[in-house]
Amino acid sequence: MQIFTCPFCGPRPETEFHFGGDLGNARPEGFRAVSDADWSRYLYHRRNEKGAVREVWMHMTCGELFAMERDSVTMEAAPGQALHGDAP
């Protein structure tokens, strides 16, 4: 069992967390003006990097989204960071 650290609840088992995608994948502005390709990038395309990754995760038991830096090979995970406003 891997332990992830929720910025609000502290260290908790991995089964309480849900992957939420790449950090910084902002929803395109201007609904109708957005091209099919840009919608596709936002909705489906992922960086899916090998090594250091910056991701959004949800701690399902408290319902909060937060940012987490991990290594997708060693699976080492830094403590989660609270998201502030629109950043990053």
Binding site: E14, R46, K50
Partner: protein
């Protein structure tokens, strides 16, 4: 030298001291230029090379492999072959693979030990029988064998399952694909490698692709750990590492890489003569010819490139298995491992030209790549030879993520990817 495998050659070599066998494939030095380069010597890459030679007469081909051939997901899967999908596009794809598998041992002169012992999808509750009937009907309409079984028929076929009154995963019925089954996974890789090598294909192992050669906006080859190799058409079949290769080529893919685990028990006498999946615990099992129970389940839920699994998923799989088959509680697990699978948002593969012209994709097979190997090879070979889609691969182009014509098999056939 003995090239053809047969009872006669076995007898002759037995009499003459087994000295005449030639290596199953050559290991040549890479040439500076080929007509076609294929990245990845797993099942899909090797099958692509074989069908380029067989169907299109293109033999000036290199298959480049970072490690050893068949050492990725081709050697890590649970060897299940089936085409029990919902959408016509998927059935056309996976049944092409199944039909090719049915003739593959003869075609390759290599025994892939195909055993069409039946693929049984259990149904736990009476209400779920509606969906089971829908899947059975869809398969039959699409021209694939499928039978809807009631509880008694499942019980006759699978007597060791837990049918007790307090069973956690009861049985209301099942969907059987009689042509489904298992094959020897290593033999598929080795058989294609041998046949491709004999046709003139160079299989270059221990050669890592470091970058693409891009000239005039087109892919013109690859830079590898053993030097530059040029070709005007490049195909990639690298499963879990597809996004890593795509980043080198300057584009992204709608894929996430996850670890998928499997495990095997110690060998026992024959107890299970079909491949069975129970959707409740999302656990499936079959028994290998050696007697080991080969067991798998759902994906690990944490994106990963580490080829090992996490304990919570393994616990779920094993807990599900011993609920399904209480007799298996006494068995010891011998090995557990994981492969890295590239999962697309609609649980269907991506086949077609990439955003970099001259580079063609065969990826996104998720948890179901092994069963599709002959089709993936046929279709990528068609693309590399003609530059055009085969009718069967067209719906699986990358453009479906912009047009919205997704082929959502996770929803369609309810098969967990």
């Amino acid at each position: 030298m003995t090239r053809h495998y047969s009872a006669f050659s076995l007898l002759r070599e037995g009499i003459t001291g087994q000295k005449g066998w030639e290596p199953a494939w050559r290991s040549p030095e890479p040439k500076p230029r080929y007509d076609v380069i294929i990245i990845g010597a797993g099942g899909h890459g090797l099958a692509t090379a074989y069908y380029l030679a067989k169907n299109h007469g293109i033999t000036d081909v290199a298959v480049i492999e970072k490690g050893w051939l068949g050492g990725g997901n081709t050697g890590r899967n649970t060897t299940v072959i089936r085409s029990n999908y919902f959408y016509p596009e998927s059935v056309a794809l996976y049944d092409l693979a199944l039909r090719l598998y049915e003739g593959l041992s003869k075609d390759l002169n290599y025994n892939i030990m195909l055993s069409q012992r039946g693929m049984l999808n259990l149904v736990h509750f009476p209400a779920d029988m509606e969906m089971a009937a829908r899947l059975t009907n869809a398969m039959q309409i699409n021209g694939v064998d499928a039978e809807l079984l009631d509880r008694d028929q499942v019980r006759a076929m699978l007597p060791i399952y837990n049918y007790g009154p307090d069973a956690r995963y009861p049985v209301a019925g099942g969907v059987l694909q009689p042509r489904g089954g298992i094959a020897r996974h290593d033999a598929v890789a080795w058989g294609y490698a041998r046949a491709a090598s004999r046709a003139g294909v160079d299989i270059i192992q221990q050669c890592e692709v470091e970058d693409f050669i891009i000239e005039g906006g087109r892919c013109r080859g690859v830079r590898t750990s053993r030097g530059a190799i040029r070709a005007d058409r490049v195909g990639m079949a690298v499963a879990g590492h597809s996004s890593v290769m795509a980043a080198k080529a300057g584009f992204s893919l709608p894929l996430i890489s996850y670890a998928l685990q499997a495990c095997v028990s110690e060998p026992v006498k024959p107890v299970l003569d079909c491949t069975v999946i129970a959707p409740g615990p999302a656990t499936y099992a079959s028994q290998s010819d050696k007697g080991e129970l080969v067991v798998g389940g759902a994906l690990d839920r944490i994106p990963s490139y580490g080829q090992r699994g996490n304990l919570p998923v393994l616990q779920n799989v094993v807990a599900g298995l011993i609920e399904m088959f209480p007799a298996f509680r006494q068995l010891k697990l011998m090995r557990q491992w994981a492969g890295i699978v590239d999962v697309a948002p609609d649980s269907s593969p991506i086949i077609g030209e990439s955003p970099l012209p001259g580079l063609f994709l065969n990826c996104g097979w998720g948890t179901g790549g092994f069963k599709a190997i002959p089709a993936g090879g046929t279709l990528l070979a068609h693309l590399l030879a003609t530059g055009e889609h085969h009718d069967i691969s067209r719906p699986f182009d990358l453009d479906r993520f912009a047009t919205g014509r997704l082929i959502d098999e996770a929803a369609g056939s309810g098969i967990a990817h």
